[in-house]
């Protein structure tokens, strides 16, 4: 008799096997499955524009499949974007799409999580690269293109190649003034911007000290190492958060890797080794410590986006700027990640503190992150931002520079107009 060797399974192998109705799957295998949700945003109009006659004939395969959030250029910047929004609203009405969130609700990824639409063990795809964010609450989620989204609206079905997995084990805890943003910049700097290409990343170890917001920041930037999903194990922090957003433990099925799962690579990170860091132009893996570039001057400081626009991010900034003023010659822009996060920051005076210090407030949404409107830079200007990308031209001007950092580092920099280590202000 042949000896049967049972090898443990990774998170993604279990989730994809379950969805594909297979007993087990192995990396490299191609499976066909029906995702739980399809996220689209301002690109919805272009997506449905590809399949007009087919939508007339077949309709949307399942009105509960799509989640649509208008967030990228909100409120509309011009006639063209306004018409785009109008077409989306017409599509939503015509096809009875339930999960629709209009302008002002927030950045799509934050909205998906805070409306309780992303649940542990689910498969969610979206026509936005940062769809990988829902790994924060134990879902497998990843980005696709517009054409794939159009096909999904009609068929509800797609293929996925089962990815190998990289296991990253986090140890210890952050020093004061160091945050999850510094950690993920450190990790991307370590593995490079293509270090997790075609692979999923699982985060293991001492995660109990990381809030859902912290995990969101890390999972969100998974795509900046080209990972196909970046996932945290469900724990009490997740269960409590999900309960708060109306999702009970009976509403989902927790999935996690077996102890003896087989990994492509394993890497350990000691969180107490991480220091305030930035991604310097024009790549996210161009890692520098704040110490190295201390004193570099900035024209604009931006706190917001799906990466770092939550209440806890605004609060950290307000604590640094309380009773102080943004340095003359520097502009501070704040765009909360969602209406809900904005409300939290309004309730305890965080927003007042920021506005008193001289901050400009924007509508909850993507804001200046993608360079379509709001906070576009002039040539030779420099922004420090809590966003996830610092590519050339990303914020609308190819002769400008973008540095990425934590909300604390951005706030400290706004205070002095030059790159400042937040540890100096928090000690």
């Amino acid at each position: 008799m042949n000896e049967v060797i049972i090898v443990g399974k990774t998170f993604v192998e279990k989730v994809l096997a379950g969805k594909a109705g297979a007993d087990e799957v192995v990396p490299g295998q191609i499976v066909t499955l029906r995702p739980d949700h399809l996220l689209t945003h301002d690109n919805t109009a272009a997506i449905v524009g590809k399949i007009g006659p087919e939508l007339d004939r077949y309709g949307v395969v399942d009105p509960d499949l799509p989640i649509i959030v208008i967030d990228h250029v909100v409120p509309a910047a011009n006639e063209k974007t306004a018409t785009n929004h109008k077409r989306i609203r017409e599509f939503v009405k015509r096809h009875g799409i339930k999960n629709f969130y209009d302008t002002g609700e927030g950045v799509c990824h934050q909205v998906v999580v805070e409306k309780g639409l992303a649940r542990p063990g689910q498969v969610i795809v979206g026509s936005d690269s940062h769809t990988c964010s829902y790994g924060a609450v134990g879902a497998f989620s990843t980005g696709i293109d517009r054409t794939e989204a159009a096909s999904l609206l009609l068929t509800g079905e797609m293929w996925l190649r089962v990815p190998p997995t990289i296991k990253m084990t986090l140890k210890g805890s952050f020093d004061k003034g160091v945050y999850s943003k510094d950690l993920i910049l450190h990790i991307i700097g370590d593995v490079s911007a293509s270090g997790a290409a075609y692979k999923t990343v699982e985060f293991h170890g001492d995660i109990s000290g990381l809030s859902i917001g912290d995990r969101f920041t890390i999972a969100n930037m998974g795509v900046e190492m080209d990972s196909k999903g970046a996932i945290f194990q469900v724990d009490d922090t997740t269960r409590t958060y999900l309960k708060e957003v109306g999702v009970g433990e009976g509403d989902y099925h927790e999935v996690w890797a077996d102890e003896d799962a087989s990994y492509y690579d394993e890497r350990d990170y000691d969180m107490s080794d991480v220091v305030p860091s930035v991604a310097a132009p024009h790549q996210v893996d161009n890692l520098r410590t704040v110490e190295e570039l201390k004193g570099l001057s900035f024209d604009q400081c931006f706190i917001g986006t799906c990466t770092n626009g939550r209440y806890e991010d605004l609060k950290v900034a307000a604590d640094i700027l309380k009773g102080e003023s943004v340095s003359k010659g520097t502009r501070l822009i704040i765009a909360p990640a969602s209406r809900m996060e904005l409300q939290k920051a309004l309730a305890d005076g965080t927003i007042s503190t920021l506005v008193d210090a001289g901050a400009m407030m924007l509508t909850p949404g993507c804001g200046p992150c993608l360079g379509a409107h709001q906070g576009v830079m002039a040539p030779q200007e420099r922004t420090i931002s809590t966003a996830n990308r610092n590519f050339k031209g990303r914020m609308g001007c190819k002769e400008a520079e973008i540095y990425l950092a934590s909300p604390a580092t951005v706030a400290a920099t706004a205070l002095y107009g030059e790159l400042t280590d937040p540890r100096e202000l928090l000690s």
Binding site: S129, D145, E148, S151, W159, A193, S194, D226, G393
Partner: protein, 161 residues
């Protein structure tokens, strides 16, 4: 035939700036901005049948498909690269744009070299030297051969009735 050479980590913002993402969607709208922040005159000079020879992590960043749409529409025959970012790779399959992941071929290329591609055989010849590249699995080739994902989906829907 021209071989257009670009380096590592060419992201989709360089291939098609984000500021146009929600105002330009069709190939006609995309082409004037194709590679605008990387090689501004590319869209005027590129010809049907040209090749791109690129470094690692080509197409990283945003999931916007306009770069793929535009490169296909101007007649780029294939992109030969050290490696491609995941979403860009998938988007290319969905548009029927051919990507060839072959670091050795990129390394071997010298200006003026003849490049010959045998897609079905998974072989590429650069300046007389032959290299092999991984072929796509049959299920995926079906999508490409149908002329892209939407045609593939349409066929499937028609069969279902």
């Amino acid at each position: 035939m021209t071989v257009w050479k670009y380096g590592d980590s060419i992201n989709t913002d360089m291939l098609f700036p984000g500021k146009y993402t929600y105002t330009c969607s069709t190939a006609d709208e995309v082409i004037p901005h194709l590679l605008e922040d990387l090689d501004p005159t590319f869209h005027e000079k590129v010809e049907e049948g040209d090749l791109l020879l690129v470094g690692g992590n080509f197409g990283c960043g945003s999931s916007r498909e306009q770069p793929v749409l535009g490169l296909k529409a101007v007649g780029v025959k294939a992109i030969i690269g050290r490696s491609f970012a995941r979403i860009f790779y998938r988007a290319s399959i969905n548009q029927g744009l051919i990507l060839i992941e072959c670091p050795d071929a990129v390394e071997a290329y010298r200006d003026g070299d003849e490049v010959d591609i045998d897609i079905e055989g998974g072989r590429i010849t650069v300046g007389g030297k032959e290299f092999s590249f991984p072929k796509l699995p049959p299920q995926i080739l079906e999508i490409r051969d149908a002329g892209g994902l939407l045609n593939y989906a349409r066929k499937k829907l028609e069969t279902r009735g």
